[in-house]
């Protein structure tokens, strides 16, 4: 009897120990994070999965797709967008499905924003020196009125034929620049690929163009990290600071347009100085977000952050809202479902849309 009982005791302890080990293994979540230099920025993907292999596979496939699309959307690259710009005015160019989709979306946002978002101003942006290899030079130039006027006044259109999947440019004043929307599209495509794998959650960050998702339908054990994604909004005048944190559950995207991202300063004598977050005394800041109506950097806001269901929407709307300014920008945000925003004005006031009232943002730049 005693012997059986002591065996029983060992058995009970054994079951207890092995079930603990099983719980450990079950609860373990693998995190895979990788970053690559793409689209002139750091492209970071972080995937969480119960299976390390699954997460690795997902991230690998995601980067392969991001690389393919980066070439596709390069203004000067070998993709169909590069071809459209090389052809210049009036010849129809065959487009890939990706480029066609984004061109059509760009047209949609152009109408929605009353022309504040405009994919046809590539030549105007070039004139200011904010070209693709801007990062190396770090400075631009102020174009003359004579050079700017014909580009601003010419009707600029992209004529898309969805049947034949072709497009042509309406005049030689047009160069297509999808810089304000393509990155968002690529992030969305990457997220689509990640979602096909059995991930718990993932974060895609293309230099501040962010989309996250958490699959909440899965049963979550009590000790697991169930915190939301916490995304900070950059302080537009200090690279070491943030102005607030947004807590994101589920599937959301964020993008910020700011006058500190690509800029230069000019003094009264016309000397040019490199871009800085902080303002420079006695110098004027010129930045890369052009008001299509004037061909000059948009004034009024210094940063516009948009939270939206997709990264493409957030990307395009952050540019549009930045150009539209405080009142019309906020009105646009409020008119769209599931879209929120944080705006910073030239005077340093911080405005949040109605859905972000609970988020703890200060009303003035700290």
């Amino acid at each position: 009897m005693r012997k059986t009982l002591s065996l029983l005791k060992i058995f009970v302890f054994g079951v207890l120990a092995s079930s603990l080990v099983l719980i450990y293994l079950q609860g373990r979540v693998a995190i895979v994070q990788e970053e690559q230099y793409l689209l002139g920025t750091y492209f970071r993907i972080k995937a969480q999965s119960r299976s390390q292999d699954q997460a690795h596979q997902a991230v690998r496939e995601a980067f392969a797709e991001a690389k393919r699309l980066a070439e596709e959307f390069s203004r000067t690259g070998t993709g169909s967008l590069g071809e459209l710009n090389r052809q210049g005015c009036c010849a129809a160019v065959q487009l890939t499905d990706d480029v066609l989709t984004v061109l059509e979306a760009a047209q949609k946002y152009r109408e929605l924003s009353d022309g504040a978002f405009d994919p046809t101003i590539g030549k105007i942006v070039d004139l200011w020196g904010f070209t693709q290899d801007w990062d190396r030079a770090g400075v631009g130039r102020i174009p003359s009125e004579e050079a700017l006027r014909p580009l601003v006044e010419a009707p600029r259109n992209i004529l898309i034929d969805p049947q034949t999947k072709t497009a042509r440019l309406s005049s030689s004043a047009v160069a297509v620049d999808l810089g304000g929307i393509a990155k968002g599209y690529i992030v969305d495509r990457v997220v689509e690929i990640l979602k096909k794998h059995e991930l718990e959650s993932a974060l895609v960050d293309a230099g501040g163009n962010i989309r996250v998702f958490t699959l909440r339908s899965r049963r979550v054990l009590w000790w697991e990290d169930r915190r939301p994604f916490r995304i900070a909004v950059q302080h537009p005048r200090d690279e070491r600071k943030i102005i607030g944190i947004l807590e994101i559950w589920g599937d959301r995207a964020l993008a910020t347009s700011g006058d500190y991202q690509r800029c230069f300063f000019a003094d009264a004598l016309g000397n040019i100085f490199p871009c800085r977050y902080a303002d420079e005394p006695d110098k004027i800041r010129y930045h890369h977000i052009m008001d299509p109506k004037t061909g000059k950097p948009a004034r009024g806001l210094i940063s516009a952050t948009i939270v939206a269901p997709t990264a493409m929407e957030a990307d395009a709307l952050s540019t549009a809202v930045f150009v539209l300014g405080e009142q019309r920008g906020l009105a646009l945000i409020e008119s769209l479902p599931d879209v929120e925003g944080v705006l910073v004005t030239e005077e340093g006031r911080i405005l949040t849309s109605s859905g972000l009232r609970e988020a703890s943002f200060p009303t003035e730049l700290p």
């Binding site: 207890l16 970053e35 000790w223 990290d225």
Partner: protein, 130 residues
């Protein structure tokens, strides 16, 4: 079944109960630790060029390290448990202006030279929209 429970109860001593309770308590206390990669957190600076790790610098050791990126040399300084970028090509100088970092989750990004310096760990912030 009741017979079995009664026998087991009679047989298990006070010490056994304590032991079971201790094992359970100890195990549940360590579970959350499993979900943090505690080893690297806050004690190293990971230097990457073009996404590839080129250095893992212990923050406890003061030193200067130079890495070569596509735009030139980036000089990284570790001192007193903190790390900063002393020199890096690029007119905007963002990574130099960010100054010292020392907390887990902080990072310096020298974009033109494709150099990143990261202190692994959880800062509570997953990304910055900029």
């Amino acid at each position: 079944m009741r017979e079995l429970v009664r026998t087991v109860r009679r047989y298990l001593t006070w010490g056994d109960y304590m032991l079971i309770a201790l094992v359970l308590l100890g195990a549940s206390a360590t579970i959350p630790l499993l979900h943090k990669n505690a080893e690297a957190s806050g004690r190293w600076a990971i230097v990457r060029v073009d996404g590839q790790i080129v250095h893992q610098l212990p923050l406890a050791k003061d030193q200067e390290v130079t890495v070569i990126g596509p735009a030139g040399e980036t000089v990284i300084q570790v001192q007193g448990g903190r790390v900063r970028v002393l020199r890096s090509p690029g007119a905007q100088e963002i990574c130099m202006r960010q100054g010292w970092i020392h907390k887990p989750g902080q990072a310096l990004i020298c974009l033109p030279n494709r150099v990143t310096i990261e202190i692994p760990g959880d800062s509570g912030i997953d990304a910055i929209s900029r």
